[in-house]
Amino acid sequence: MIGPIPPLYAGTVTKYVFIESYKTTPADIAARAYEVSGGVMIKETCFGLQITGKEEEVDRVISHVREVDPAHIYVKDRGFPPGDPRRCRANLGGARPGYFGHEFEMGFIRRISIGLEKIDSPAEIPAPESEQKDKEGLSVKRLMELIEQEA
């Protein structure tokens, strides 16, 4: 049972740093973050980092980390600080719930990375395929093609 505790790390912000890259690992960005960590608290995780501290200091560390691999590093706010007894599995006696959204988005985040890499390329925006394809299901034309293939 969690005993009475005051609000932890009041006045600070916590941010997640996610890395999804074939050439940079969470350990790489952790080393990079420690170079300029100053007064912030850095927690290393399997997906990247959690950085806690004053907002301007956290932003400074994140901008330094981003330079490593700008299109493959993603950052978002977190409400709870790392190790918070209400969330940390060390206090809860087992795996903690959550991360469903992150798990879902990390499944296709490489498409966003490609978008970021090509954002300044002069090529025209490709035709949006999603608007072309029939969202209601299999089109009659496509069905006829499949029947002919099978025949």
Binding site: V13, Y16, D77, R78, F108, R111, G115
Partner: protein
């Protein structure tokens, strides 16, 4: 720098893109952080309290279930602050109980009713759609005479 409400409010992709293009993303984490860093009667401070269902009355009627009103006490203040919004249509991971579903509908309704500039998108299904997704977000956030 404008404050941009993102929906789903926990989205990593939207939060990152909004911050990357120079604006402040308004997501659930901000509301949760405010609650757990504010000292109160509960120790430790809870992220949700029975009072939140009352605070939610500002955005939802009294006959609306308390689950919706409690959620609105998190999202409502963010919508009030929002100067723009980016919405992903029908995100799969936001699927949940009726409380979640009705809150989602109410959030989208309130954003439209507020009349702030809004960008609606679908999650990219392939690499080309990924390029389109990022470019649309960038255009929306950096257009001349748009968000300041």
């Amino acid at each position: 720098m404008a404050e941009v409400f993102i929906y789903p409010a926990t989205s990593l992709i939207l939060s990152d893109l909004v911050a990357r293009f120079g604006h402040k993303p308004l997501g659930t984490a901000l509301s949760v952080r405010e609650r757990i860093q504010t000292a109160g009667l509960d120790s430790p401070p809870l992220q949700m309290t029975p009072d939140d269902a009352k605070k939610g009355l500002r955005w939802a009627a009294v006959e609306v279930p308390s689950g919706v009103r409690g959620r609105m006490s998190l999202f409502g203040p963010l919508i009030d602050r929002a100067e723009a919004a980016i919405i992903v249509r029908n995100p799969e991971f936001a699927f949940g109980c009726m409380g979640c579903a009705r809150t989602d509908e109410l959030v989208e309704f309130l954003i439209r009713q507020k009349g702030v500039p809004t960008l609606e998108l679908d999650y990219p299904g392939n690499e080309e759609e990924g390029i389109i997704f990022v470019r649309k977000v960038k255009e929306f956030l950096t257009r001349p005479g748009g968000l300041s």
